[in-house]
Amino acid sequence: MISRELVFEIGRTLIAIMLALLLGFIIILLVSEEPLEAFQHFVLGPLTTTRRIGNWIEATIPLVLTGLAVSIAFQAGQFNIGAEGQLFFGAVIATIVGISVPLPMYVHVLVALLGAMLGGALVGAISGLMKARWGASELVSSLMLNYVFYRFGLYLINHHFRDPNAGAMVSYRLPETVWLQWIWPPTRVHWGLWVAIVAIIFSYLFIYRTRWGYALRMTGLNKDFAAYAGISVTAVVIYSQVISGAIAGLAGAADVLGLYRRFQWQMLPGYGFDGIIIATLARNHPLGVPIAALFLAYIRSGASIMSRMTDVSSEMVAIIQGIMILLVTAQAFLSKWHHRAVVKEAKRHGLNA
């Protein structure tokens, strides 16, 4: 049975998205000399060729993973702003395993992915432990860890795995045994898609079908009540950050092993903050995450096509994203309507009784 509450939440989210898109269209109308062209490329562009559909799916993969990572932390009532550093470090570890641990096909990829998860989990564990042990704000600690592991990762790549023959600051090429293979030529959609799907199923089952997941949700809803009911809040804080970090680590590995086949980030890629946008749109539900990630990747890829074909620059999409977060998370947005619905429901029950 679907509760009225859920219907309201979904409806509210959709209305917020519509309003944000509407604002996007108004902006296009204001700045463009060819607004109809621009609309068309923005809305339909990603579907016009196989390659573009491929680009859309490629872009979705890391977004699903960071979206899941952030959702798990949010469900535990924790913040994870550190997905950025976790995925960066995960990607570094995957690169190192790829270059310096020769292994046979299949095994190599698995070990590299596992390494990335461990790397991300390690970063998450530091925040989790500091919070659980000393009550140190995971917000500040994960923010700091982003920079610490960003620099540390860069050090490892630039000083030990840098390809001196490449023109740019990039690592050596990864051997083919560690690649996430492309599954849909001519696009670059890769095995990371399966990784993302497994991660979705795992996250769903973990959160809603296990004792640990139950404890995690209870802690997120009401920490004091959870503690009173005998749940170890300390343990929840730690493992939620560890699992969140592990999944974020996969996001970094997916791009490096699947798309670039060498480490080429000199800046933080920004997927961590994207994960927060996605978790917000998905209301922290693992099954909502792929929808939100597909949507976000779609409007971004539409915006980038639009900027290539017309006079509207792709950054417009950032304004849409920001407004979406603000509206979706504003409790007062449409709350009067919600209130009316609740009253109606109550009255109906009153009559039945």
């Binding site: 500040v140 000083h159 304004i319 407004i323 603000l326 007062a332 947005f333």
Partner: protein, 313 residues
């Protein structure tokens, strides 16, 4: 090693340290004032970007650096209050509101720059102005110290004055007291008739103003153009400096100098064989350590309190 020490103790190093500290210090003071009112301002990064692009655009349009600065500051306050409106009036989580503002600013500044000037990502075609540098009388003639302290952009001196102004405001004025009361305990503050919402709007407005100075320094002092994401995390570093400085203006100023020191040092390191990545890591590690120690003390204190309460009972 010898060349490194000579580098640190050179006049140029001291000068560049103050220069790189300026935007961090502004952001950090902005973090202090909002945090003291009980609102974490994650949006500093975005506000600085908005200020940076506004300064460039307004100064190019008006032909005056000061009018450019004014425009930049007004836009900064406006967007800080915009974020505050969503948090205070509509109940958006302040962290998410700040992240939303950062997202809007990161793309929106590039978008607006393109619409206004046709420049993609960097304001190369705009004849924007730069804030003047000031040679301090008397002080500039002191050997060693003079060339370090004198000859900076006027905004660097504003930053130093802002430390005192923020301290004075928070600890020596009735409004500052109320602002801190709201942060300590919103319920008790409300019970004695202080408007929590108004104080938080005020804090965010001042926080925006300070971050605005920082952003203006980046595009109208540090360099003479705006470029995509030119803040490069300085808003977040400001939050770190505030945490490291115990959310106190003086402590935060020292912490900001420490970040500036490490930043300037890493520039020197690049010419030597020491990996600059490690030097740049130090301030963040120090913040992490400081955060851990501080939290541990707080926890020990509260546990001791609980124990005593038990003994009394």
């Amino acid at each position: 090693m010898g060349s490194m020490l000579r580098g640190i103790f050179s006049v140029g190093f001291g000068y560049s340290m103050l220069r790189v500290t300026t935007p961090i210090l502004f952001a950090a003071l902005g973090a202090v004032i909002s945090e003291r009112a009980g609102v974490v301002n994650i949006g500093l990064e975005g506000i600085m970007l908005i200020s940076g692009v506004s300064g460039v655009l307004f100064s190019a349009w008006t032909g005056s650096a000061w009018l450019g600065l004014l425009g930049a500051l007004l836009m900064s306050i406006l967007f800080a209050l915009f974020m505050g409106y969503f948090h205070i009036k509509l109940g958006t989580d302040i962290i998410l509101a700040g992240i939303a503002l950062n997202v809007i600013a990161s793309g929106g500044t590039v978008f607006v720059l393109y619409v206004a000037s046709g420049d993609r990502g960097i304001s190369s075609s705009l004849a924007s102005k730069v804030m003047p540098t000031i040679s301090l009388p008397v002080i500039s003639r002191i050997p060693v110290l003079g060339p370090i302290i004198s000859g900076h952009n006027v905004l660097t001196y504003f930053a130093l004055l802002a430390v005192i102004a923020v301290w004075y405001f928070m600890y020596k004025t009735p409004v500052g007291l109320r602002l801190r009361a709201v942060g300590e305990s919103p319920d008790s503050a409300a019970s004695v008739g202080i408007s929590v919402d108004r104080m938080r709007f005020l804090a965010l407005g001042i926080s925006g103003l300070l971050a605005g100075f920082g952003g203006a320094h980046l595009s109208m002092g540090y360099v003479s153009w705006f470029s995509r994401d030119m803040t490069a995390g300085r808003g977040f570093i400001g939050l770190a400096a505030s945490a490291l400085g115990g959310v106190h203006p003086i402590g935060t100023a020292i912490a900001s100098l420490f970040f500036g020191f490490a930043d300037a040092l890493s520039n020197y390191m690049q010419s030597l064989s020491i990996p600059s990545e490690f030097v740049q890591m130090i301030p963040y590690l120090a913040t992490l350590l400081g955060l851990g120690i501080f939290a541990r003390q707080q926890m020990a204190k509260s546990q001791k309190g609980r124990k005593q309460a038990k003994e009394v009972a």
